[in-house]
């Protein structure tokens, strides 16, 4: 069992045990095992078609497995999908949709009762916009924001779900270098309060934020990241890719 050893006393937030998954008898994931502890910042890397998106979809409860080998906070993912704060990649949402920033963040409160959002929902949404230093943009139009600002709003939306776990899907694919650096600083800040999973292709940036790395290519392999030993990581990744 691969474990992200941050604190041995705390119970793992995510447990994946002997997970296998196939599309039309084509195995995408085989016997995958890992655990993610509270406070970790896990980068999920691997080649295209290696199973990263499938793994993410299983963790988000979008795909179900026949055996109950995946648990998030000791529950089946489909039952606790609301517990995950998901930040989508750019092409998952409509960038030009006419909507105000506050309304985007309020979507994190969806699923409650009533026709409209409550005062409490609005309070939570504004609090999280403030955390992302975007409270002055609450009444701005979402399409008028820059790529980096849009991402902060989407993070505020994920935080508004009152989650413990943030899941980023290719977070830097639409950002310039400056915005990417700001994003990694933000990620490290968020990691003080949240457990973070980041699916990324951007291998060279992984050492900037990750505490541990999960390589997914049908099976998984795991590396606990040590600051200052970036070269070890690159060698390890190269070996995995060559295999």
């Amino acid at each position: 069992m691969i474990m992200t050893h941050r604190n041995k006393n705390t119970e793992a937030l995510i447990k994946v045990n002997n997970l296998s998954f196939a599309y039309d008898k084509r195995n995408v994931l085989e016997n995958v095992n890992f655990e993610v502890n509270e406070g970790d910042c896990l980068a999920i890397v691997g080649p295209n078609g290696g199973g990263k998106s499938t793994l993410l979809n299983i963790l988000c409860g979008e795909l179900s497995t026949t055996n109950s080998s995946v648990a998030i906070c000791n529950n089946v993912p489909s039952q606790v999908r609301k517990l995950l704060g998901y930040i989508p990649q750019k092409n998952y949402y409509d960038e030009q949709f006419p909507i105000k920033v506050l309304q985007v963040v309020l979507m994190g409160r969806l699923g409650g009762k009533g026709f409209w959002y409550s005062k409490y929902d609005k309070k939570i949404a504004l609090e999280n916009l403030r955390k992302m230093q975007m409270e002055n943009f609450a009444q701005h139009s979402f399409p008028s924001l820059s790529g980096g600002q849009k991402q902060r709003v989407l993070i505020a939306r994920a935080l508004a779900t009152e989650t413990k776990i943030l899941v980023f899907d290719e977070p830097t694919s639409s950002l310039d270098v400056h915005s990417q650096n700001l994003f990694y600083d933000l990620l490290c800040d968020l990691n003080k309060d949240y457990t973070i999973l980041v699916v990324t292709h951007n291998i060279h940036e992984v050492p900037k934020f990750a505490k541990s790395v999960l390589f997914v290519n049908k099976n998984t392999d795991f590396l606990s990241f040590t600051k200052g030993k970036e070269q070890d990581f690159y060698h390890w990744y190269q070996e995995k890719i060559n295999v």
Partner: protein, 282 residues
């Protein structure tokens, strides 16, 4: 225009036409905003053409078999809803390409409609009425059906507003928040289907997509939120229908075509204005 206002006081059919146009504009503005932002205008096109099948069968049963209770508009509503449910079902459960479904429904609906209308005794002019609309033929009974459909559409939109906005903006996230995305998408298609039926009476099957998308398209260039977009689209739609009716009455030209031509001209002007404003800003 003064002549039109005088005629409104004089002729009941003209008043019915104006009321029908305004009622249809309310649904058109609200549902049109969803259709444009969700980019499903071609699904609306397929539904509108499929509706001819329902109109044809209802009219055939009404005239040939004496089913007088079956107004062609009921046939339109039933076929529009069937089309909406079928498109949603095929998209989600059979994973078929949407453009293929659109093509099939578009043509099959028209074919069924033409077949039944040709077998129904009476004026073939009716086919032209359904295809290109004639709002001046709206009856008091039609007006009642239009009002009921309008109320249903507006109430459902208010009831499901935040979930509909969520699935139009980010379907994936909405699903994670526990929203029943498939059911809501089919509901959105059903709302579109009912709006299509309302608009068929105003501009006819062929031009429904234009009236459903042009006001919302213009509104989207200026609105900061979906609510603003809906309000602006509704007002624009009322302006287009009223001015189109007035011009068609004044110059004795087809009302549906006049409404669409006016809408099209305003759309081009707004697009030019909007792009020059964007260039100026940058």
């Amino acid at each position: 225009m003064f002549e039109f206002i005088t005629a409104l006081q004089e002729f009941a059919f003209l008043r019915y036409a104006l009321i029908a146009g305004i009622l249809a504009s309310i649904s058109c503005g609200i549902v049109g905003a969803f259709v444009v932002t969700k980019r499903i205008s071609y699904l609306a096109g397929a539904i509108s053409h499929f509706v001819l099948g329902g109109i044809g069968i209802a009219r055939y049963l009404n005239i040939v078999h004496g089913w007088t209770f079956l107004d062609p508009m009921y046939g339109a509503v039933i076929f529009a809803l069937l089309a909406a449910i079928f498109i949603g079902y095929v998209r989600f459960w059979h994973k078929q390409r949407e453009d293929t479904i659109i093509g099939v429904m578009w043509a099959v609906g028209m074919a069924v409609g033409v077949m039944f209308i040709s077998q129904t005794p009476g004026y073939n002019e009716d086919l032209m009425t359904y295809l290109f609309g004639n709002i001046l033929l709206v009856t008091a009974e039609d007006l009642r059906i239009i009002a009921v459909l309008d109320v249903i559409i507006v109430v459902l939109c208010i009831f499901f507003y935040r979930s509909l906005v969520a699935i139009c903006f980010d379907e994936h996230f909405a699903k994670l928040r526990g929203i029943k995305v498939r059911r809501l998408y089919i509901l959105l298609l059903c709302l579109t289907a009912m709006t299509v039926v309302l608009l068929v009476t105003v501009v006819g099957i062929v031009m429904v997509i234009a009236l459903l998308t042009i006001p919302a398209g213009i509104a989207s260039q200026f609105a900061k939120s979906l609510g603003q977009m809906m309000l602006l689209a509704t007002l624009l739609s009322i302006v287009f229908v009223t001015s189109g009716l007035g011009v068609s009455y004044q110059y004795d030209v087809p009302s549906g075509a006049t409404i669409i031509i006016i809408s099209g001209i305003i759309y081009v002007i707004s697009a030019v204005f909007s792009s020059s404003r964007f260039r100026f800003k940058n």
